[in-house]
Symmetry: C2
Subunit: 69 residues, 2 copies
């Protein structure tokens, strides 16, 4: 499985577990409101810094975004 796909799936899982919308996560992480949706559709290749900010919003260790399902 491509790493983008792993990140997309984990991002969606962690986001929904927190009961947050894509726009709420994007806003809290200081990102464009469509960016989280693009990540969940594997349309972008996010940087380490961006994913660290998203993990902080989701209150999850960053490594959780990279675990194989």
């Amino acid at each position: 499985m491509k790493l983008r796909g792993i990140v997309a799936g984990n991002l969606r899982r962690l986001r929904m577990a927190k009961g947050l919308s894509q726009e709420e996560v994007a806003h809290l992480a200081g990102l464009d409101r469509n960016y989280v949706g693009n990540l969940e559709r594997e349309q972008n290749s996010p940087t380490v810094d961006t994913l660290e900010r998203i993990a902080a919003v989701l209150e999850a260790p960053a490594v959780e975004l990279f675990r194989e399902p």
Copy 2:
């Protein structure tokens, strides 16, 4: 520990375990010859796609780059 630092440490550890130089990893991953050195000095924020290519060169699951030491 910042995610850049975690990636830098794991990259160096995995690279040395394979007995590869920074330039060899950069070449095999199709990156600028100085890029891997920059990553190990936490000077860049690499993308998911770039780290996937580096993990493939190091013959390690990508998640290994993100594990806390």
